[in-house]
């Protein structure tokens, strides 16, 4: 990447926005060297902090004209290195774009800018009896732009779905710097569902500068049940029983003994003493329905060996139960100096088998693994513990973590349920999809970003060369010659 090209982008950025929003000072650039996955670090060449879509589009256009790669970053809480900067590129920070442009409870919609914090959408809507359903554990600090990029989930997506089910429209800056509307406030916008492709594309198809989101009516009643079991097998059987009974809880979360130990040490959540596993089960909806479902869920927990059941019906008690679960990742820091947060998915019915296999892996490698997961939909978050000051420990943890992903793939699952592929898991993509699958996905990339400038190097292990007529290759592409890309 030429310094001239980058200087041209910096100059355009300074024309577009106040000079202090264009960062070139190395010490300040380093502040942005990583996102929530801190062991990948790259200092960007330039950071810009636009105030609005026009400024942002202007910067992207300058990048396109000068062939400079760019990466968008929201709050930087991502766990797959999706917002890892490009050393020769521009990092576009959207945190200043934090206006709730419209709040329309009568239409069950809000229009928000990418820097708006997830929980702030709910805070704005709550006085009207509405809320924004997707609730990643980081919802107090993560932003909507990042949620859209990653298709974030959360504990309640078992019933309510993911970000993609709650975003109906977006204003998108394409990798050429055009500002286009995709989708809309009304359902079923005619044409291809471009928005469906953009949500979860991890910033590789452009930058979203506003999102039209669905607001969901606050339920009449919410009941949260904490159930203590002797083992994860019992808790898993209870989960299966609940699903088989036709109950669709808002959430079913499981933690194993090690995860409980960590949560107790960190936040004193007072989970049932001596439990080998706990379930947090939340039921919500019309009061009459929740009451009927609750009786059944309670019975199923007891039948499957729950030795302690605690019900919370008011927000304070509910928050206490959730505190242990939502702080689980950070809490592990109390029992281990370092840890890897894994994110894999299995068919829910494979849970006992996979947990057993993880336990075996842990035993044979001597690497401790704490398990926290969304039991209802089979989304596992094994926390692989290690001490980086011990030689080889990090490597051993990496191996266990990778082996867990292979377990997920082997059971017909996924390498990521909600954290994204990012930089971290691009290398695993060929284990889940074959070459033709990846090639076909990248046709979408080529339609949006033929020059491979929007968050390059993420999601796909090898970029596809775009714009070639099948069967008519003229010599080797420069990227191919340089060994950077393969021609499929």
């Amino acid at each position: 990447m030429s310094g001239v090209a980058l200087a041209a982008v910096a100059e355009r950025a300074r024309e577009l926005m106040p000079r202090d929003r264009v960062i070139t000072d190395h010490a300040r650039l380093r502040t942005y060297e990583c996102d929530g996955l801190a062991h990948y670090r790259v200092t960007p060449a330039l950071v810009v902090m636009p105030d609005d879509a026009a400024q942002l589009a202007g910067v992207v256009r300058a990048c396109a004209e000068n062939g400079v790669p760019f990466v968008a970053r929201g709050a930087g809480t991502g766990l797959s290195g999706g917002a890892l900067p490009h050393a020769d590129g521009v990092l576009i920070v959207t945190s200043r774009m934090r206006t709730v442009r419209e709040l329309r409870p009568e239409d069950q919609r809000a229009v928000v800018e990418p820097g708006v914090i997830n929980l702030d959408v709910t805070r704005a809507a709550t006085p009207h009896g509405y809320y924004y359903a997707p609730d990643p554990s980081s919802q107090q600090i993560c932003s909507i732009g990042g949620n859209v990029a990653e298709n974030s989930g959360g504990a309640h997506c078992l019933k309510y779905g993911f970000t993609t089910n709650h975003v109906l429209g977006a204003e998108l800056v394409t990798p050429q710097g055009e500002l286009v509307e995709i989708g809309g406030a009304a359902p079923d916008t005619p044409g291809y569902d471009l928005l469906g492709a953009v949500v979860g594309s991890e910033g590789t198809l452009g930058v979203v500068t506003s999102a039209t989101v669905r607001l969901v009516r606050v339920p009449e009643e919410v009941r949260t049940l904490l159930a203590g079991f002797e083992s994860t097998d019992q808790a898993g059987a209870a989960t299966s029983g609940i699903i088989a009974a036709g109950v669709l809880p808002a959430a079913i979360e499981m933690m194993d003994a090690l995860a409980i130990e960590a949560a107790e040490a960190a936040v004193h959540c007072d989970y049932p003493h001596g439990a080998g596993a706990v379930l947090v089960i939340e039921l919500d909806g019309a009061a009459a329905e929740v009451g009927a479902e609750y009786d059944e869920v309670e019975r199923l927990c007891r039948e499957n060996g729950a030795f302690e059941l605690r019900l919370a019906t008011d927000p304070v008690d509910r928050a206490l139960i959730w505190k242990g679960r939502k702080s689980a990742f950070a809490a592990v820091g109390r029992i281990s100096p370092d840890y890897i947060v894994q994110d894999g998915v299995i068919p829910r019915t494979a849970l006992p088998e996979v947990l057993k296999a993880i336990a075996d892996l842990s035993e044979s490698s001597g690497v401790r693994v704490a398990n926290v997961f969304h039991a209802g939909d089979g989304n596992l978050h094994p926390l692989v513990l290690f001490d980086d000051s011990v030689e080889g420990a990090g490597q051993a943890a990496e191996e266990v973590s990778g082996a867990i992903l292979d377990l997920c793939i082997g059971h017909g699952g996924s390498i990521t349920g909600e954290h994204g592929v990012g930089i971290d898991k691009a290398k695993y993509m060929p284990r889940m999809y074959d070459e033709d699958d990846l090639d076909t996905m990248q046709l979408v990339r080529c339609a949006f970003d033929p020059d491979n400038l929007s968050n390059p190097g993420k999601v796909f292990p090898t970029p596809r060369l775009c714009g070639e007529v099948p069967g008519r290759h003229k010599g080797a592409h420069p990227l191919q010659e340089a060994g950077v890309a393969e021609v499929f």
């Binding site: 291809y192 928005l195 009927a292 996924s414 999809y433 076909t440």
Partner: protein, 412 residues
């Protein structure tokens, strides 16, 4: 038959056992194909597509053909690809609430396979006989979209065959999965212009223990209907559907579906009946026409979308346009039927009336189906945002424009 046609036919014939001459029933919206192929597997579809690619044949995929005339007539349809041979439900993982099915399986067949486990694919069958693939291609949905969404909310994995015959998968067997691009979203509603879907994986829902339909005669004034719909939608009774049925000549009903546990449903139904006011009835069976479109053969079929606050305006516009109206008033997706035997300029004016009402409320009016002369005279799609990007997607997937050319938005 030209030499070229004969070689093309031989190539397709060697790719797939079942190849035949078309009959009148094989016409695609008035366009007669040269050849009909009925492959029996994804591999055979791929072989047929490779043969079509080698000979430059245009291809129109077909399921049961119940909505094949939606969109514009294709500019060309050399090969009709009949997916009726891919009619198997492949795997029902009841404990995981997931089903894998071939695209040519009928929706009713899929539901039958799930019924024993008291599960269902939560997409209503809006036209009897529709297949999974056709439902995806047209993004068809019915009343239950209010609670469980549409195909885009339920499709978790897809196998497609590209125009060049390459087979590709996206998504998978698990509901929660953010690995890679969600190609399933792109093929939904694409009218067979992007790729041929051969297999689909869906998340399922449990069949509720009890169902109650609460309904009331629709008031004549749009404002009164609007008020009742708003009252139900913004209450906390969690309806599965809020439907309006308003014939052009007056009358009609508002219907609300509640599903759940027996005790819960009865209480919720009583709550909703209270909101709908005197005259509301509670039934255990759906009202007539519950999941069907309001149109008849030869009508002009229009899909109207809008944000909820626009319902009153849209109802008034439908009355002005002389349309029978039915659909999901609770989500802002309703269907209008205009008698097709009117002068085309009157029909064009009626479509404009509907379209401007929808546009005022951030939505669209799309003519799904109409007699050929009407499709020529009216703007079928109306303005579509992002059409430039859509063309670029099309150009990547089908650079030679051989898949259902011309059926879709912007000439795609």
């Amino acid at each position: 038959m030209t030499v070229l046609e004969r070689t093309a036919r031989e190539a397709v014939g060697s790719a797939c056992e079942e190849v035949r001459d078309p009959t009148a029933a094989d016409e695609v919206d008035g366009v007669a194909p040269l050849l009909v192929a009925r492959p029996a597997s994804t591999e055979q579809v791929a072989e047929v597509m490779r043969a079509a690619a080698a000979h430059g044949l245009t291809v129109v995929p077909r399921g049961a053909g119940t909505k094949l005339s939606w969109g514009l007539p294709p500019l060309s349809a050399d090969l009709l690809l009949d997916l009726g041979g891919l009619d198997r439900v492949l795997d029902h993982a009841a404990g995981d609430l997931v089903v894998a099915t071939q695209a040519g399986a009928r929706m009713a067949t899929v539901q039958q396979a799930l019924a024993g486990s008291r599960q269902r694919l939560a997409v209503d069958e809006t036209v009897p006989g529709a297949t999974v693939g056709g439902t995806l291609a047209t993004n068809a949905s019915g009343p239950r979209r209010m609670l469980t969404g549409t195909a885009r909310d339920l499709l978790i994995g897809v196998t497609v065959v590209r125009a060049d015959g390459v087979v590709a998968k996206a998504g998978g067997r698990v509901v929660k999965n953010v690995a890679g691009y969600d190609l399933g979203k792109l093929v939904i509603g694409s009218l067979g212009t992007l790729a041929v879907v051969t297999e689909a994986l869906f998340r399922l829902h449990p069949v509720a223990e009890a169902q109650r339909w609460v309904s009331v005669a629709a008031a004549d004034a749009p404002a009164d209907v609007h008020r009742l719909v708003q009252a139900v939608v913004h209450a906390q009774a969690v309806p599965s559907a809020v439907e309006v049925d308003r014939p052009a000549g007056g009358g009609g009903r508002l219907g609300v579906l509640l599903e759940g546990r027996r005790d819960g449903v009865e209480q919720r139904a009583a709550t909703v009946a209270g909101l709908l006011g005197a005259g509301a009835t509670i039934d255990e069976e759906p009202p007539a026409g519950w999941t069907s479109y309001p149109w008849q053969e030869a009508d002009v079929a229009v899909k109207l979308t809008f944000v909820l606050s626009g319902l009153e305006d849209v109802l008034a516009a439908a009355r002005e346009a002389g349309a029978d109206l039915r659909g999901s008033a609770g989500t802002g997706v309703v269907y209008a039927a205009l008698p097709g035997d009117q002068p085309t300029d009157r029909l064009a004016a009626a479509v404009r009336t509907l379209r401007s009402a929808c546009a005022r409320h951030r939505g669209h009016a799309v003519v799904l189906d109409a007699p050929a002369e009407v499709k020529r005279a009216v703007d079928v799609w109306g303005p579509v945002p992002g059409v430039g990007l859509m063309r670029r997607v099309k150009d990547q997937f089908d650079p030679e424009h051989r898949l259902s050319p011309g059926r879709f938005v912007g000439g795609i």
